[in-house]
């Protein structure tokens, strides 16, 4: 009876030990030598294998970094923190770039852009594109069939009421959606920039108005409103120059068709720290909106109603007494 337990235990135990020994031996014998930096870098990478860097997955990217073929900033997903870690591994200094996000440059949802016909074909923007440029009356706008949604590896883009919308918290700027979009309505922009012109229609105002209620009608009110020369108007469409835009959101307030979008909840206000303010009036001179009061040598005050959060005073204050929040 005892041997009935002993034999199976011994045999299976023996087999297990045999395989254990063989595997240990094999792992030594067949060990592939890898540059330790590759493993290190691979550990810091996000591991989503999205291909946003232009290489076939994170492993290939780690290889390319160590070989010196790829810059450490090529990964759009990891963000500044990861770039710093990679810089440490590689012993180089990183010039950190601001995080970008994809944004859909179209606001012609089902309420504002009409349908030309009822589309019943394959549920895919590229397929719809072949049929007279999609069912939406505006041929420049988002088709809304979600080819980008399928392409997004991070579940960061969804079609809401006929227009794709990017969830900026989830977006990693991997450019997958930009590549697949047949309409080219998705663009990468710095995440801190709040104002966006949501239209790509280059037709004249009347033609735009006929196809979409929220399209850019070339009225150029935004160009006149902007105090920072940050709106370029060409090809019958307004475009924000993000190197000049200060997030003051005045253009969004002025736009009659609400083509220019800005989330006013994110609008900042300047606050003057009374302890640091010396009453030099520099901020007052630089305010384009007459939102700062106060005399020379006296404490300055912000007129909250007038301040639009452009940060011009914040940048110019010699005493760093102005905070934006």
């Amino acid at each position: 009876m005892f041997s009935g337990i002993l034999w199976p235990t011994l045999t299976l135990g023996g087999l297990a030990i045999f395989f254990g020994v063989v595997l240990t031996f094999a792992s030594k014998k067949f060990a592939v030598e890898v540059d330790p930096r590759v493993t290190d870098i691979r550990g810091h990478l996000p591991g989503a294998n999205c291909g946003g860097c232009g290489y076939a997955g994170c492993d290939a990217f780690a290889d390319a970094i160590v070989k010196g073929e790829a810059p450490i900033t090529a990964c759009p997903v990891g963000g500044a923190e990861m770039v710093n870690q990679l810089a440490q591994v590689m012993g180089v200094t990183a010039d950190v770039t601001e995080k970008h996000v994809a944004r859909v440059v179209c606001c012609g949802d089902k309420n504002s852009a009409k349908e030309k016909y009822e589309y019943q074909g394959i549920h895919d923007c590229k397929a719809a594109e072949l049929l007279a440029g999609g069912s939406k009356s505006c041929k420049y706008g988002c088709t809304g069939l979600g080819t980008c949604v399928k392409a997004c590896p991070f579940d960061a883009i969804h079609v809401v009421n006929g227009v794709a919308l990017v969830d900026e918290k989830k977006c990693t700027a991997c450019k997958k959606c930009i590549e697949v979009c047949p309409k080219n309505v998705i663009e990468l922009v710095p995440i801190s920039k709040q104002v966006r012109v949501l239209c790509k229609n280059v037709e004249k105002g009347k033609a735009v108005n006929e196809v979409c209620k929220t399209g850019c009608i070339s009225c150029q009110k935004c160009v006149k409103t902007c105090k920072f020369d940050a709106i370029i108007f060409e090809n019958n469409i307004a475009k924000v120059d993000y190197s000049k835009c200060t997030n003051c959101m005045m253009c969004a307030e002025a736009c009659p068709t609400k083509t220019i979008y800005a989330n006013f909840e994110n609008r900042k206000k300047a606050h003057i720290n009374d302890e640091k303010c010396i009453g030099c009036t520099i901020c007052k001179k630089h305010c384009n909106f007459e939102a700062i009061e106060g005399e020379l040598k006296g404490k300055h005050k912000i007129v909250s109603d007038k301040c639009v959060g452009c940060s011009a005073c914040h940048a110019k204050c010699p005493k760093k007494a102005i905070e934006m929040k």
Partner: protein, 193 residues
């Protein structure tokens, strides 16, 4: 003649996925694209062929000899897991190209029930070594055929307008069952006469 019968039976009539319902996990999991499905199929073919032979040897020369045939399941799991690990290492060292094609799928097969199933069936059917090898490879080819066909259909489904409630796995399961019914047609083949 018997070998041909075993091969055709394993590929079509008793298809491992569609009529024996083994290896369903990779069948549903790795079948979103034809390319990956093919890679998985090749990896399974490779492992099943090897595992069939090795487990047959283990059964005859270890388990039967000691009269502990009832430990078959546990011993086979051990052998297959060890074997897959070993093969993975060898491929990684000797052929980086093959490793890139199969490497990702190998760990998935370690505990694949289709592999265990084919090895146990080999013993139950009292096959000799050649027949065992043929049955193993035939079963794997059947798996490959099923998963590639399924992946082809799923690629089409991606762009088809599917009712909201059936999107994703529900429609995949319906497709799988239809495929399975289609393969049922092969059961009319009488191979052993």
């Amino acid at each position: 003649m018997k070998i041909a019968a075993i091969l055709i039976s394993a590929i079509l009539v008793n298809n491992f996925v569609l009529s024996r319902f083994l290896g369903i996990c990779p069948f549903l999991g790795v079948s979103k694209k034809v390319e990956t499905a093919l890679g998985m199929g090749l990896a399974v073919t490779f492992v099943m062929g090897l595992a069939s032979v090795i487990t047959w040897l283990v059964q005859i020369f270890v388990l039967d000899l000691l009269g502990i045939g009832y430990m078959q399941t546990i011993a086979f799991i051990l052998v297959i897991a060890g074997l897959v690990q070993f093969v993975e290492m060898v491929i990684k060292k000797t052929s980086p190209t093959l490793y890139q094609a199969l490497g990702v799928y190998l760990p998935l097969i370690t505990t694949n029930c289709a592999v265990l199933g084919v090895t146990i069936l080999n013993i139950q059917e009292k096959y000799n070594l050649i027949e065992t090898l043929i049955n193993g490879i035939g079963a794997a080819l059947g798996f490959t055929l099923a998963i590639v066909l399924f992946a082809g259909v799923r690629e089409r489904l991606e762009t088809a307008p599917i009712p909201k409630a059936l999107e994703g796995f529900p429609i995949a399961l319906i497709t799988a069952s239809l495929l399975s019914i289609a393969f049922l047609g092969f059961s009319g083949l009488s191979l052993f006469q």
